[in-house]
């Protein structure tokens, strides 16, 4: 019966969520319409200046797409993004102009053969002229920018997110300074000139705006595609998990440093590519083109369109660019006319073109205060459940039949804690704790608040450092490992005060739990080869199966954002997320807190079923009936020390335990707990 319930309820979101390849039709139509309209624009509107403005707008759209990966997806504020734009620009600028002319030596022969350089006869001896093709420069500039992205992102990764903002701000300031001062390489403040225009099959792009427009349009389309592919993959989910809650992300197996650097590198690569395009189009590069105002402008585009919203940031970029190149001048003229009409001196003096940065500042503040999700929000709230669904009779799910857990019959303890001490300043949170959890067992950790229970979980899962001792998971040392590695080894946890990713759906939350079990990398996510597709499909099926443990409490809500769920359902999602990682040991921190008695019994049964499947469970719990019904062994902590250990019945009668819980006098009496 239970498995029946699972399959019928799972059918609701299956249609939408399992069809991985099919992007929602509406989005596809909007995209196609945009591309067709943009492609026809230069043909229908044959005005070189306007086409040029359009090409610039599209170039900024690619920058906004890149910054969106960093700020929108991963939630890392990069204030020096223009630096990567500059690096890409100078890469092509230097390698396709007459800036560097080293003396000719045989060393250059192979490069000449590859047509990367030319031998130029000069009176003082032949020199090398760099002639890097624009098309080769695009990936090269992207790679170099990505390298610098990693280089400058790395120092800040151990720190809280805020420092990244200031370091990138500094970096964004330094790159133009270097460009200005290193004249032999960059021609300094004068700027690089004579940068070659791109060629394609013998056709020279020259200074005609049209071919540039089409290159920019192709780049935008490519990067929209890449952005969507990344967003809807293991990688994108991990980024968004980091954005929502770093600690929970790392506890669920996300390698924070690696994924942050990846976001930084990919964002930088987009900018590097655009930099090459931009100088090829202008055929000049000066340090002023890449200063702080440019970084802010791109940020404004992302904020206006909607952080994390791929189509939003494209719209934001195009709107702002067109605003600057088309509308502001007209608007200023109208305002002046209006000023003359009503006799307002102020209106006649307003110059909106000059005030563009003031407008940017206002946009930033107004959007943050009144519409943080931007013009086109990244997540649309799904339709609410129907009345019937909301009031449907609760059909309990079951963990029975959940495949993938084989009971581990081994004599090696699942978890073996030896002499672990944790100190916060002068406070000893755990003092030389010993604890053994047999494989396949259920152990409850109880104790008054502040007794060190959660600290025990934190130190086990790598969130807190211990001063000494050892923690072994099935015989392997895990003490000192970072949280994501502990999860990969097979210990998954929930948190006492629920740490979900609030703006992600139930399904995505549970999918993040599988991060460590999936292989898809950035390239695989973009190409989405059959292997990736199969992996993603299996991951989704597994996620729905795990969600199905809780019957129709969660399954119909799989596509809802978890922030819209009830408290008890959030606890269930968190447990599902931990189970999705296929743990060998499940650490539950007060799983029934905030649940009513009926819900508590239901959850206790589900935990029991998981245990029957062979999962080892460690449980922090205050409700002692739950403890008694589940645990084979109980460990009592008080003031960071182990007070007692034994069968539930024994512990209930232990004098020291009673004293700790109920006070000295109660302990002297015969009052038993529960």
């Amino acid at each position: 019966m239970a498995s029946e319930a699972t399959t019928t309820t799972a059918a609701v979101p299956r249609r939408r969520s399992f069809a991985l390849a099919a992007t929602p039709r509406r989005r596809q139509m909007i995209l196609v319409a945009f591309i067709v309209a943009a492609a026809l624009f230069p043909i229908l509107h044959n005005n070189d200046a306007d086409i040029d403005a359009g090409a610039n707008a599209l170039a900024y759209a690619t920058l906004a797409l890149g910054l969106n990966i960093v700020v929108g997806f991963a939630g890392l504020l990069d204030l020096g993004y223009a630096a990567f734009f500059a690096i890409g620009a100078y890469t092509y600028g230097i390698l396709s102009s007459f800036q560097l002319e080293p003396a000719w030596t045989p060393f250059w022969e192979p490069f000449a053969w590859l047509e990367l350089v030319q031998r130029m006869p000069q009176p003082g001896g032949d020199v090398v002229h760099f002639t890097l093709s624009f098309w080769l420069a695009l990936p090269l500039a992207a790679s170099i920018a990505a390298f610098f992205g990693v280089l400058f992102g790395a120092p800040t990764l151990r720190l809280k997110g805020d420092y990244l903002a200031i370091v990138t701000l500094g970096f964004g300031e330094i790159v133009p300074i270097i460009a200005r001062n290193w004249s032999s390489l960059t021609s300094g403040a004068m700027g690089l000139n004579g940068i070659a225009a791109p060629h394609l099959f013998g056709f020279n792009f020259g200074i005609d705006a049209e071919p540039y427009f089409y290159v920019a349009l192709s780049m935008v389309v490519l990067l929209i595609f890449v952005s969507f592919r990344l967003r809807d993959s293991r990688i994108g989910r991990a980024w968004m998990a980091i954005r929502e809650d770093e600690i929970a992300a790392s506890a669920m197996g996300v390698d924070l440093a690696r994924l942050k650097l990846l976001a930084f590198a990919i964002g930088a690569a987009f900018a590097g590519m655009t930099g090459t395009f931009y100088v090829a189009k202008l055929q000049t590069a000066t340090p002023e083109m890449f200063g702080f105002p440019v970084s802010v402008m791109i940020l404004v585009m992302v904020v206006l369109g909607g952080m994390g919203s791929v189509l939003g940031v494209v719209v934001g970029a195009i709107l702002l660019q067109l605003l600057q190149s088309w509308f502001l001048e007209d608007l200023t003229t109208w305002l002046h006319a209006l000023g003359r009409l009503v006799g307002s001196d102020l209106l006649q003096r307003v110059d909106l073109v000059e005030s563009i940065e003031l407008i940017f500042g206002i946009i930033l503040v107004v959007m943050m205060l009144f519409r943080r999700q931007g013009l086109i929000p990244a997540t649309r709230r799904p339709a609410a459940l129907s009345f019937e669904q909301q009031h449907a009779e609760v059909r309990r799910g079951s963990a029975i039949g959940l495949k993938g857990f084989s009971g581990e019959k081994t004599d090696v303890p699942a978890l073996e804690v030896r002499g672990v001490t944790v100190r916060f300043g002068g406070l000893v949170a755990l003092r030389s704790i010993d604890l053994t959890v047999p494989a396949g067992g259920v152990v409850a950790v109880i104790g008054p608040n502040g007794s060190g229970k959660s600290t025990l979980f934190n130190v086990t899962t790598g969130l807190t450092r211990a001063e000494g001792g050892s923690i072994k998971l099935f015989g392997e040392e895990i003490l000192g490992l970072p949280p994501h590695k502990v999860l990969a080894r097979g210990a998954a946890r929930t948190f006492q005060n629920i740490r979900l990713f609030p703006n992600l759906t139930v399904l995505d939350n549970v999918l993040v739990g599988q991060h460590a079990r999936l292989r898809t990398q950035a390239l695989g996510a973009v190409l989405r080869l059959p292997r990736t597709r199969a992996e993603e499909r299996a991951a989704r099926e597994w996620a729905m199966e795990v969600i199905g443990i809780f019957g129709n409490r969660l399954t119909p809500r799989a596509l809802q954002q978890v922030s819209s769920l009830s408290y008890a359902n959030r606890r269930r999602v968190e447990i599902a997320r931990a189970i999705a990682s296929r743990p060998r040991v499940l650490l539950l921190d007060e799983p029934t807190a905030g649940m009513n008695p009926a819900e508590t019994i239901e959850l206790a049964e589900q935990i029991k079923q998981l245990h029957t499947l062979g999962l080892t469970v460690v449980l922090i719990e205050h409700k002692l009936d739950v403890v008694t019904s589940l645990a084979q062994n109980v460990v009592v902590l008080d003031h960071g020390e182990k007070l007692a250990e034994g069968l539930p019945e024994e512990v209930r009668r232990n004098e020291a335990v009673l004293t700790a819980y109920l006070g000295r006098n109660a302990g002297a009496g015969s009052a038993a707990l529960v």
Binding site: V71, G75, L77, L79, P155, T156, R158, L159, K160, G161, D162, Y163, A165, I166, V167, L169, G170, F171, E173, I174, I177, I178, R180, N181, R243, F292, V296, L299, V303, E354, S355, E357, L358, F360, G361, I362, I363, L364, V365, M368, L369, R372
Partner: protein
């Protein structure tokens, strides 16, 4: 000048600049200590402060370099200029907090930081659009008394900068350490939630932090004008970045740390300018920022920031 004299001269200059950075760094550190927010609007509160100082001096009849005062009038003018500038800047900081940051107090992610960038940009452009892009002469009513120390020259101006900065910083330090509100501030920096439960009015603490930090930035703006004899809409960015580095160097959230960090940055700037090249000053200071963050993120004297579980 001998190398020793140069060293001495640049120490004198560095101390003056350092005093200015320290005043500015205190604003970063106070706000970061309590809200964990890098307040980018602080950059341009400093710049606006410098213009308010300019306008106050002009209103008092001090314009150009020709008006020299001595004795009581000089003291009165200086007191008035510092008082007006600091009160105005302080109120500006409070307004920024009240209007643009308080609604975002409990919003996670970079929203509040982005807002401060927006506010910074608004201040920057309001001054640019109203005052213009050319830099303005900043009057200096001090008599040109000079003292010769070896080969170096110590001007009255420098002494004034040192004394004023010392008084302000000492005042702030005593306020934070001794006063009731200062104690509330330190408590909030440690644990806002616990402080609130113990009856600390967190809003008042935050407003005080913004007022004091911004007022000190205003004083820094005045000192900038006295030191360089000009002011301009662009001065906030560079000075702000250096002062932030000073705050990180001293340990962000740490009040004495920000003071010492400021002086160190000032000395590094003048020495670097003398013995390396001014064009690379920002590169040097930025490298220090990155090195401190990598190797000693708590700064030289330890941080004091909220503990978040």
């Amino acid at each position: 000048m001998s190398t020793f004299d140069l060293l001495l001269q640049q120490t004198i200059n560095g101390l003056s600049l350092g005093a200015m950075y320290a005043l500015l760094a205190l604003g970063f550190t106070l706000v970061y200590g309590i809200l964990e927010l890098i307040n980018f609007s602080h950059f341009n509160v400093f710049m606006v402060g410098s213009f308010v100082a300019l306008w106050t001096l002009q209103a008092l009849g001090i314009s150009g370099q020709s008006v020299i005062l001595t004795g009581l009038p000089l003291v009165g003018v200086l007191l008035a200029a510092f008082a007006v500038t600091m009160v105005f800047s302080g109120l500006l900081g409070v307004a920024i907090e009240r209007i643009s940051l308080r609604p975002l107090r409990n919003v996670k992610g970079p929203a509040a930081m982005i807002t401060t960038i927006g506010v910074s940009y608004i201040l920057f452009n309001i001054i640019l659009l109203t005052v213009g892009a050319d830099s303005k002469n900043f009057p200096n009513p001090l008599p040109t008394a000079r003292f010769q120390i070896g080969g170096a020259i110590l001007e009255l101006r420098e002494i004034l900068i040192w004394v004023v900065s010392l008084v302000l910083m000492l005042g702030l330090y005593l306020f934070v350490q001794k006063s009731r509100l200062g104690k509330a501030m330190r408590a909030t920096a440690q644990d806002p939630e616990a402080a609130r439960m113990m009856g600390v009015e967190v809003d008042r603490v935050i407003i005080t932090a913004f007022f004091l930090g911004s007022a000190l930035a205003g004083a820094g703006g005045l000192i900038f004008g006295l030191y360089y004899n000009f002011t301009s809409f662009i001065i906030g960015f560079t000075a702000g970045l250096r002062a932030f580095t000073a705050a990180v160097l001293g340990g962000i959230g740490n009040v004495p740390g920000a003071m010492i960090g400021g002086v160190l940055i000032g000395l590094i700037e003048t020495m670097g300018g003398q013995f390396i090249a001014t064009a690379w000053t920002d590169v040097i200071i930025f490298s220090i920022l990155v090195l401190v963050l990598v190797f000693k993120p708590t700064g030289l004297f330890g941080t004091l920031t909220p503990t978040k579980s």
